[in-house]
């Protein structure tokens, strides 16, 4: 441990994460309390600073003390005095707040030793957690805006495009179209006015990588965008951000202002003669606006409805002018490629998918958070090494990649390489980078229903397959989850899903059936159980589950009876309690409140437990014969 000597504190800086995850854990208050305490203690040499999202949201709020590299997890305001006195003043790190390995339980003091971080390779997220996102000088100190200088002083637009093409960078927004080629189309398109648009309308439930990038390192997005604008010849730019990301909006606006003050944006940038103005547009809550033509319609002030391509935005985009639309992560990668070269970048990843990809790892996983890994990594490495596996000794069931329109892959795909082609072949996709892990308690029919309910609600309504097809599919899935499925439903879902996929106008409809089609492919037995046996194997679908109080275990304590919200439990002191199955709303309260030592409530699906018709005296603990004689 690099325990610094007491008194040598003038070098230390404590960085508190102020990403949205940690902010919901009151990291603003923690920062304020730290500053106050450091001042009160007279620790003039100690800096209290903040950063964007460290990615390890599961452990939030997190803080890192540099140069010691000590990582504190789940910090609260109450921990502040101890951190200040023990660590910042006396140089003794607070072991109590160290991260503990979920498997071994061992405390790990250093940031770099935590598996969650050590297996990652951070290119897009390179600065996040290491700089204060509200200070442009921090970004510059990390080599920021050097690539822009290089591009403007030494490279022609054609050379920039060639470099990006050579790097093999593909769009990180979902479809994976080669970024350099996209720029080239727009560069070659005829037009007096061209536009550069940054797609920051990250609407996938369970995905927050674009938000974290903008909150943690907004300048890299601006730098990438300016380089892209130079390459295509655009003088106006738009960043389209979800209004639900107020912190990201705030930091991007601040970064724009700083960048303009420094001369990295505006007229005649760095004396090159190249000018660019960037405007922020806030989305108004429509997932479909992540689709590029819908996004353009929304910037123009219209209903966010996509239109058919061709013509592609490269030729006819915003107000009919040539337009390039790139995702936040694609743009954040650009400055690194320019700085370190296409060959360096292309050395990471697979043959067709170069570089790294960012995932928001969530669901039934020990280490939720934001990760960046090289393309070609195995799903198993992400889930078990970085993610720390499934908590609570539960069994892995499926992993869903690519947001609500991605597919659910079973255990047999865990050794699948993570790249555009392999995921597509498996029926899923890279998407924008959501990754949700599911365990044995997750019902795959319900999951398919859940994802489809999201995409169905977000359908813009323009084209028939998406508008009506997803609705019909959702109706069928809801029926199946209610136990009203019919044997032919699976065939209809399969066929309808395939047709919606092929027939829909835009990416939303073209991918919406993926969760249904993949669960039909890999978890067909769960559909069959729901339809044929009226049974939910994961005990998740409410209509198909029931609760019983086991007569041989109930002690007649009455806790369940008192807590039942609908009064459907009959019983008395020392009498076996009975649930009226007709009245039960299956809320599960009885199971939750039944004392662990009795464990008398059982949740089942597709079966019935023999119970007496009316409360009988408790037999639990008495000889079995007595119990049997009590039964009717």
């Amino acid at each position: 441990m690099t325990a610094a000597k007491p008194g040598s504190n003038h070098q230390r800086t404590i960085f508190i994460c102020q990403g949205t995850g940690c902010v919901s854990g009151k990291s603003f208050d923690i920062t304020a309390a730290l500053s106050r305490a450091a001042k009160e203690q007279g620790l003039a040499g100690v800096n209290v600073d903040f950063t964007g999202c460290h990615g390890f949201c599961e452990q939030g709020p997190v803080a890192i003390v540099e140069p010691d590299g000590i990582f504190y997890s789940q910090v609260t305001v109450a921990d502040v005095p101890e951190i200040v006195q023990s660590h910042l003043r006396d140089g003794k790190p607070v072991e109590r707040l160290f991260y503990k390995d979920p498997v071994t339980g061992e405390a790990i003091p250093h940031h770099r030793d935590i598996k969650f971080y050590s297996k990652q390779q951070r290119i897009i997220l390179r600065n996040i957690g290491r700089i204060n996102p509200e200070r442009v000088d921090d970004y510059i100190a990390m080599g920021g805006y050097e690539s822009l200088k290089k591009v403007l002083k030494e490279m022609t637009p054609g050379q920039v495009i060639a470099e990006i093409k050579r790097s093999g960078l593909r769009g990180r927004g979902g479809a994976g179209f080669p970024t350099g080629t996209k720029w080239e189309f727009c560069h070659n398109a005829a037009g007096d006015q061209k536009y550069m648009v940054c797609n920051a309308d990250e609407g996938d439930p369970g995905a927050f990588m674009d938000r974290s990038t903008m909150e943690g390192d907004p300048h890299t997005v601006l730098e990438g965008m300016t380089i892209a604008a130079y390459a295509i010849g655009a003088t106006e730019g738009y960043i389209y951000i979800r209004a639900e990301y107020p912190l990201a909006v705030k930091r991007v606006r601040l970064a724009l202002q700083q960048s303009e003050e420094k001369g990295f944006l505006g007229d005649n940038i760095l004396g090159s003669g190249f000018s660019l103005r960037i405007h922020v547009k806030e989305g108004a809550g429509a997932f479909v606006c992540g689709e590029e033509t819908a996004l353009l319609a929304s910037i123009e002030g219209k209903r966010g409805m996509p239109r058919s391509r061709p013509p592609f935005p490269a030729n006819s985009g915003l107000w009919g002018k040539p337009t390039t639309i790139n995702n936040v992560k694609s743009l954040a990668t650009v400055p690194v490629i320019i700085a370190r070269g296409a060959d360096w970048y292309a050395a990471t990843g697979t043959e067709k998918s170069k570089g790294t990809c960012v995932f928001a790892l969530t669901g039934k996983i020990a280490n939720s958070g934001l990760i960046e890994v090289p393309m070609g990594i195995k799903l198993r490495e992400i889930i078990y090494e970085i993610g720390g596996g499934i908590p609570g000794n539960k069994k892995f069931k499926a992993v869903q990649t690519g947001g609500p329109s991605g597919g659910c892959l079973p255990e047999s795909y865990l050794d699948q390489s993570v790249d555009y082609e392999s995921l597509a072949a498996a029926g899923s996709m890279m998407g924008s980078g959501g990754m949700v892990v599911m365990d044995e308690e997750t019902c795959m029919v319900d999951v398919a229903r859940f994802f489809l309910s999201f995409t169905q609600a977000e359908s813009c309504g323009k084209c028939v397959p998406c508008r009506v097809g997803t609705k019909q599919m959702l109706d069928i899935l809801e029926r199946i989850c209610r136990g009203e499925g019919k044997p032919e439903d699976m065939d209809i879902l399969q066929e309808l899903g395939q047709n919606v996929k092929v027939g829909s106008l835009c990416g939303l409809g073209q991918t919406a059936p993926n969760p249904v089609l993949t669960t039909l492919r890999y978890f067909r037995h769960e559909y069959e159980a729901h339809i044929n046996e009226k049974r939910c194997p994961a005990l998740s679908c409410t209509s198909l589950t029931s609760y019983f109080i086991l007569p041989d275990k109930c002690q007649g304590c009455g806790i369940c009876l008192r807590n039942c919200p609908v009064g459907c439990i009959a019983g008395d002191k020392r009498m076996v309690h009975i649930i009226d199955q007709e009245k039960c709303i299956k809320c599960g309260t009885c199971l939750d409140v039944c004392p662990e030592r009795f464990n008398a409530v059982l949740k089942v699906s597709g079966e019935t437990i023999e119970v007496p018709a009316a409360p009988v005296p408790v037999t639990a603990g008495k000889p079995a014969a007595a119990a049997a004689s009590q039964k009717e």
Binding site: K302, R303, K364, C587
Partner: protein
């Protein structure tokens, strides 16, 4: 609210805009921030200001989930229905919230105290299931915490 009130408030909003069509969505956002919803009279004024058909303004207002055509409650409760929250049981949290407030998602309580909404993702997936009341975020929610959280917020208000 009288027509004159609406016009007064809007005059101030309009002063930040030029009257171009592409300003419709930001204009609606700012208008909603003032009125806490989009009154019909305001939408009509906006159509006039931007020289566009009233039906177009209505079409845009009803397309985006952010815009509300009826007044919102004093506090906005948003239960996250993102994937991470779903697999960690947000539907139960939502059901409990609906029960406690006596309204369905998307509705406002009769006393106009609360508006209950769902949100696709607030991006605090590691704290799933999550919910927010106004700008306050509550993580790792359970059905039991619902009443607690509501009590907490009414004290704060």
């Amino acid at each position: 609210m009288t027509k004159a009130d609406v016009q007064d408030k809007l005059k101030e909003v309009f002063s930040h805009f030029h009257g171009e069509q592409q300003e419709l969505i930001p204009l609606l956002q700012e208008t909603q921030a003032r009125f806490r919803y989009l009154p019909a009279a305001a939408m009509r004024e906006i159509a006039r200001f931007l020289h566009m058909p009233e039906a177009t303004v209505y079409g845009v207002s009803t397309f985006y989930a952010q815009f509300k055509l009826t007044p919102l409650g004093k506090r906005i409760v948003r239960v996250c229905r993102g994937t991470a929250c779903h697999v960690r049981g947000s539907s139960k949290v939502l059901a409990e919230m609906e029960k406690q407030l006596g309204v369905k998602a998307g509705e406002t309580t009769e006393d106009r105290e609360y508006t209950l909404e769902t949100v696709a993702c607030i991006g605090a997936c590691a704290l799933a299931p999550t919910m927010t009341i106004d700008s306050e975020t509550y993580g790792k929610m359970t059905t039991k915490k619902v009443a607690e959280v509501l009590g907490d917020s009414s004290k704060a208000g």
